[in-house]
Amino acid sequence: MTRRRDGNRGRAPLVLVLPALVGLAFLVLPLVGLLARAPWTTLGTRLAEPQVREALRLSLVTATLATALCVLFGVPLAWLLARVPFPGVRLARALVTVPLVLPPVVGGVALLLVLGRRGLVGRWLDDAFGVTLPFTTAGVVLAETFVAMPFLVISVEGALRAADRRYEEAAATLGAGRWTVFRRVTLPLVAPGIAAGAVLCWARALGEFGATITFAGNFPGRTQTMPLAVYLALENDPQAAIVLSLVLLAVSVAVLAALRRRWVSAP
């Protein structure tokens, strides 16, 4: 009996395994291509270049800040979409996904039109506070937040919908107001969803190119993140581009693996 069950488990249906392997190969082969063409001998010297370290540092800092912003604003937004039946909630939900379908470069232009020096809001920011966002590191963070936020909102909204609302009712009967319920019951219940969303967010922000270069421009040390450095290196030094890509890849895989281990081992 046991044996037969094991046998069944061992023989996954071919109709699933074949496309799965094709899918895996499709995802992994480009990586193999990068590894195969990497100029391993010059890797050390390239990594020592201050521009590369600068770009990497900027990428990690901005992606992390963008993720923090996404969590700060995205979790309440997801809560609103999942829990408060306001008129136009369907439209709001659709609008949240706009950055997903918008070409990032268009997203960058849109950000310029709103937050740029002559933008709808940016003009006022400039006049009132002398703050301009384009060409600044803050601009990079905003561009990354813009494209990454939908990942967090969608992930957390799903978690909120899947969470058993009766726990919130139980908390209410114990005297917890809405904010306490959210903080002490809802948030812990959807924590795995928030974590998953934040990881997606971070990964998306780290790889962000189009909106960043359009809105924040490209200046080493200030707005030149790794993807921008890779793109420009591709113009005249494809080998360098491959090295930079590998560095970005290695760092992100290392960070994600470390985080995952931590979460999985958590109680």
Partner: protein
Amino acid sequence: MSGLDARIVVHRPGFALDLALTAAPGEVVALLGPNGAGKSTALRALAGLVPSGGHLCVDGADLSALPADRRGIGMVFQDYLLFPHLSALDNVAFGLRCRGARKAAARREATGWLDRMGLAAHAASRPRALSGGQAQRVALARALAVRPGLLLLDEPLSALDAHTRLEVRAALRRHLDGFAGAAVLVTHDPLDAMVLADRLVVLEAGRVVQEGAPAEVARRPRTGYVARLVGLNLFRGRVEVREHGPVAVVQDGPSIDIATSLRGEVFLSFSPASVALYRTRPDGSPRNLWRATVGGVEPQGDRVRVRLDAPGRTVAADVTPAAVADLGLVTGSEVWTSVKATEIQVYPA
């Protein structure tokens, strides 16, 4: 007045609930009724989880306008809903913390509650590590810890297996005895209701159909649902006095000989055990004799419950397995059936 004084009015498409409910301090009232009768809705309305009309006073305070978190009503949910991310101790301390207690003080008091429930050893356990009975006691402690004037229990035993249920029911009875406030319990299990409650309120389709002490309800059911619940046959009829004595005329049904001095509309109830069956028409002329078709045969413990169908009346009879064999009782067979007039309880409708 102290205790609970409420009227709950909830209207939804295809459903209306209108229920007046009182409970003295220390009294346990069981809301009993079939699925969809509105028991749980009534409970949720009391807790403030469902908007309702009417009024709600607990110990003289009008709570009608308050949201759930400011009513101070304790509630034990059907599957307990212990917060999975908190220890048993922090679950119990939750309500105290919400009421502004400091963490240490709340934990100290929660520890006292767990002690009383015999769960001191499980204070640090997460809910998923607790057995059903333990979880139920933590849920009870959590609800009682905030010292509510009114305690609500929604099917508190339905999540337990039969064996655990017996023990937990007894323990719950003890804890309810020790609770000074009013308690309202929702159940569809008559045994839970009989053991735990001081008074039963039977709800059908959103209305109260019978109310009284458990023994009274069990002896004198007033609806088919209650009669089935307590295992009695029930008819409703009008008393007419014939030359051989009083009979109850059941609308669209038989006239049943009874022994009573009551007049007017009455209920007749009799135990399935008092129904006698014969294969052929018995000698002499027992009253209340009729032919019926066996509609179903179902063993129940050491007895066999036989459903007997005849025009205008369906009754249940309990016989021994030997009698089933002797009479050749199978679905569809024809038998003679009788009930002695003296076995029939008659009470005003």
